[in-house]
């Protein structure tokens, strides 16, 4: 680690003559769970350049999307859940394949699909672009408006039937359960939902001395939603209210970027939200995901009775 450019003031910081058992020193409570932190300024943790946190997500709790500037590795101590990881630029590969209602009734977007294929279907989104180009690419706002004027957005202007007809699509989500290890690269956001019947407990380590963290030796968490009025993760963020990234932008800029009205843009900033970073999901959590692999889960898979079992 010293060869990787540890600042001189930190090089003599490791006093390893006596080691202590470390307990979490700070707890940040949220609406549906809590996050416990170990003090990363403790000499032992400072020496090895890591920060550790334990997440306790209650049943039906959702840990809102966040990202870090350091690599992170996590282990599921208890419970089951659903985890989503966002890899920038990757296609939304999870989509509902149920027949869309109202397709027979001439939806405005049918013509476009008929000509070009569904933009979210198949593997060839890139290829499709290469062959035909997206109608809204390279034309700026005018081109986009033109398209909207002619055909409408696939999810707009269709009334109730259109809303039923359009299904969500998103990037990969995975089931996690006790014993799972998962890693996150710097800058890639992730979220976790507790789908089980007991608290989901995850212990996570941030490698803040990793060369990929190009800032200081303070763990920095960036929230994409929610607010944390109690602060957290020590260092620069300790004792400071943590708002989400949208809070720092002018609402008008958000409205322009997302092409939404200013009021909705202000809602993104979650200014009045006191739920913290783990929120309770109201109603069922309807995210497109593959079913659990039951045979894999069963004891028979672990200990096959017949010797022929592979």
């Amino acid at each position: 680690r010293q060869s990787l450019g540890v600042p001189p003031q930190l090089q003599n910081e490791c006093n390893l003559d006596n080691l202590d058992v470390l307990q979490a020193t700070e707890t940040i409570k949220s609406e549906a769970g809590q996050i416990e932190y170990w003090d990363h300024n403790h000499p032992q943790l400072r020496c090895v350049g890591v920060s550790v946190a334990r997440y306790v997500i209650e049943q039906g709790g959702l840990y809102l999307p966040t990202f870090f500037t350091s690599p992170k590795i996590s282990y599921v101590v208890q419970g089951t859940g659903i985890s989503g990881r966002v890899v920038p630029g990757c296609a939304e590969t999870f989509m509902d394949s149920q027949p869309m209602q109202g397709q027979q009734q001439g939806q405005p977007w049918q013509g476009r699909q008929g000509q070009q294929g569904q933009p979210w279907e198949g593997q060839g989104q890139q290829g499709q672009q290469g062959r035909q180009g997206q109608p809204w690419e390279g034309q700026g706002q005018q081109g986009q408006q033109g398209r909207q004027g002619q055909q409408g957005q696939p999810w707009e202007g269709q009334g109730q039937q259109g809303q039923q007809g359009f299904r969500d699509m998103h990037q990969k989500v995975e089931h996690v359960r006790r014993g799972d290890v998962f890693a996150n690269t710097p800058g890639s956001a992730h979220w976790i939902y507790n789908s089980g019947e007991q608290p989901l407990v995850i212990i996570a380590l941030l490698d803040i001395a990793n060369y990929q963290n190009q800032l200081d030796r303070n763990p920095r968490v960036f929230h994409l939603a929610g607010n944390n009025q109690q602060g957290g993760f020590g260092g620069s963020q300790q004792q400071q209210e943590q708002k989400n990234l949208w809070s720092g932008f002018d609402a008008q800029v958000i409205a322009q970027a997302l092409k939404i009205d200013v009021q909705l843009a202000q809602q993104l900033q979650n200014q009045q939200d006191s739920r913290g970073n783990i929120v309770r999901v109201k109603g069922p959590f309807q995210v497109v995901r593959p079913p659990l692999r039951q045979p894999y889960e069963s004891e028979e898979w672990r200990h096959p009775r017949s010797p022929q079992g592979n």
Binding site: P88, G138, G140, D168, P186, W191, V221, D250
Partner: protein, 191 residues
């Protein structure tokens, strides 16, 4: 061996030629990057660069650098830059003009706008393969999240979540409201 590899290594690449642009929209601007894939010597120095030109009333969609710090130098024109830190605080909201420099730390979200004037810049990034993640647009982080996560995270209806997720189809550059339109929006909000 050195003569065939190190000594003959290409060490320069022009990124100001519109014909070389990675993102090009005649009415909005262009963005061109050079990294270790396009200029292998950058792998040794662990640096990369991005050249950008914004036409009047355009914006670079909000984004952050995943694995690099960015040092942005304005080479021409004037633009507005907003930077947000890890606490969600606005740490920079200023007009930037030719000759001025802005440091954008890793992970900090930022947006660049031009109002009326052209804005040109060169960004140096402290990673040979610097990666960005956009917060709005077709390949953005929001687009990759399930609607349920968005609606629960922001306490909004599924229909509103749908708008947030899908309304912006561009990936890098989009139209920014002009001054008159911006004033009109402010008047509406105040009313």
């Amino acid at each position: 061996g050195l003569e065939e590899t190190i000594c003959s290594m290409r060490s320069h690449e022009n990124i100001d030629d519109p014909a070389r642009a990675d993102v090009y929209k005649p009415s909005l601007g262009r963005v061109t990057s050079v990294n270790s894939y396009t200029l292998p010597i950058l792998e040794y120095v662990r640096l990369s660069a991005t050249r950008g030109v914004l036409q009047g009333n355009a914006m670079v969609l909000p984004k952050y650098n995943m694995n690099a710090n960015e040092i942005l130098y304005c080479t021409g024109g004037q633009g507005r830059i907003q930077v947000v830190n890890d606490n969600g605080q606005n740490v920079l909201d200023q007009q930037v003009q030719k000759g001025q420099l802005v440091v954008i730390p890793q992970g900090f979200a930022y947006v660049v706008q031009s109002h009326g004037n052209k804005f040109e810049w060169i960004s140096f990034k402290t990673n040979e393969n610097a990666m960005i993640s956009t917060l709005a647009g077709r390949t953005s982080l929001l687009r990759a999240l399930p609607l349920e996560v968005i609606s629960n995270g922001f306490q909004i209806s599924p229909e509103e979540a749908r708008k947030i997720k899908f309304n912006t189809l561009e990936t890098t550059l989009t139209r920014a409201a002009g001054r008159q339109q911006q004033q009109l929006i402010e008047e509406i909000v105040e009313a």
